[in-house]
Symmetry: C2
Subunit: 327 residues, 2 copies
């Protein structure tokens, strides 16, 4: 095994207040701040080995060698790490998710958070959490939120160095669970990186951005005070706002499937009937149902009545990205 090796683990995260649209697509500086929760139990595990003798970067995902755009994105990210370290060594990157890729869970956040931690450690950099979050952001914007632990806020910043995420509260702060209804996809989706570039073509994006500060305040306060009702209303509104922008961009992006709509219409009814649960959707058809741990069984049970759900995964608030000692 090469000497310059490290392995790291990171969780995906679910955004309560969404990130959609950049002020700078290269630096991935977002147009608005965002708030999320890391998803315990789901993770990406990544080993990076730098070796002065390697001639090229290689990248395998779930034991499949990657070429083309996937490899190129990893290699460009490693270039940033190499520049920071003043080294030009190539690397072998092996990454694996413990959740099915076919589940349609956005994996780039966990992937680049784990890669940032593993690669920087392997090459000998000793980065702070803030520096790791800043670095991870360069690979995938929302990856910066998978670096700190628990409930997290991404401070949008003005420059590369001040756009990073911080912990609002640790995982134990609130026993909230994300019940992820995995849906069958019937149409090919547009990737997030491309989607962010389209955000500005919606006549609604600027209004979404202009009103985001008030939602961030409401959401942060709801998290800090564990106020589920307050969280529910702002989380659903913010999800609807992001999808409103998506579906009014040119070309329009529709991530929802028929079952997504059915769940989105049912959940507020369930809440009105006394069950604490709310929905949010990222750039995909899966519906994330947030609820207190005590309501998970009832939420699962109600989801059984809805056609088109392949499986339901559950995840409590997870920790931050970190080095593992398996190697």
């Amino acid at each position: 095994m090469p000497a310059y090796t490290a392995t790291a683990l990171a969780h995906p995260n679910i955004a309560f207040i969404k990130y959609w649209g950049n002020r700078d697509d290269v630096l991935r500086l977002p147009q608005n701040g965002s708030i999320s929760m890391n998803l315990a139990g789901l993770h990406t595990h990544t080993r990076v080995s730098f070796d002065p003798g390697y001639e090229v970067d290689t990248f395998s995902l779930n034991n499949q060698a990657q070429v083309g755009a996937g490899l190129e994105r990893v290699s460009q990210f490693l270039d940033i790490v190499r520049t920071m370290a003043g080294k030009n060594w190539r690397a072998q990157v092996e990454s694996a998710n413990n959740f099915p890729t076919s589940a349609g869970i956005a994996s780039s956040a966990a992937a680049f958070a784990a890669l940032a931690v593993a690669a920087s450690h392997a090459i000998g950099l000793d980065l702070t959490e803030r520096q790791l979050s800043t670095l991870a952001r360069r690979g995938s914007g929302s990856a910066c939120r998978s670096i700190p632990s628990g409930f997290v806020e991404w401070l949008p910043g003005d420059h590369d160095s001040d756009s990073y995420a911080i912990t609002l509260a640790p995982p134990a702060h609130w026993s909230l669970v994300d019940c992820i209804a995995i849906l069958k996809e019937t149409y090919k989706m547009t990737g997030s990186s491309e989607g962010h570039r389209l955000a500005g073509s919606s006549p609604l994006q600027q209004a979404r951005i202009a009103s985001s500060g008030a939602r961030l305040d409401r959401c942060r306060q709801a998290v800090l005070t564990r106020d589920f009702d307050a969280l529910a209303s702002v989380v659903e509104l913010d999800s609807n706002l992001m999808h409103a922008v998506m579906m009014t961009s040119t070309p329009p992006l529709f991530y929802w499937e028929p079952a997504s709509i059915e769940i989105m219409k049912a959940v507020p009814e369930w809440r009105r009937s006394g069950l604490p649960v709310c929905y949010t959707l990222d750039a995909g058809p899966n519906v994330h149902l947030l609820c207190p741990e005590t309501s998970v069984a009832e939420v699962r049970s109600r989801l059984e009545g809805i056609h088109g759900i392949l499986q339901v995964l559950t995840a409590a608030a997870g920790g931050g990205a970190h080095i593992t000692t398996e190697d």
Copy 2:
């Protein structure tokens, strides 16, 4: 039969550029202009009989006597007509739709257009088309668009007297057909009058309004030049924009059903594959598919593959509201 009687017929209309939100809820002055097509074949038929001897207004719809809010709205509308005529006679109003009420087709536009024509004629007023359109608007905003013939634009105006609709082109101008996919409704809908009042609570409404002028120009030009592709893109965008506002108002309004989403995702694919068709949805789950008459059979055939459609109605461009001579 009383001496002061008249019967009128009016068609519903489908909006290409939507009306959602008022500057004045009482006068129903809209925040933006709109463009629509009257729907031939579908109609409301209304007979109004004023009689100095009647003590109260009565109103029957499809042979069912109406009381409460339905009667009150008709009676308040008749008050406007009575004031214009300087009479205080009460009236008997009998109205019937030739389309099933359960089909969920918004009937208030046709209803108040027919009522405006019949009531004003019965009471002895001789109104111009502009005056009739202005009057119909007081009963239901979009009713002003069912007064003129064919393809119609509602000029939003600043006052009661200059907010009315005009014909852009007669029905024979373009053999466009509206194929209305009638869907099963699983949730109770919020009525349009209440919905208009909620529009301002969406952070997106002002941006929708601010950008509406450009869409009106694109749509008007597409209608006048019979440019289907240009019509398709602006009609779908404008429908998505209205629903974006609806779903981000407080409380949010979701008019879509699972099958609505399925159709909305399929139609642009059909168009890319060469079939000229586009979608638009009013404040309800039904999907209106606009296409040239020559594509109706193919559109119907493709809709057969989609679950959740109860029936498909078709309507070409229809004429304006007018007195009938049946009485």
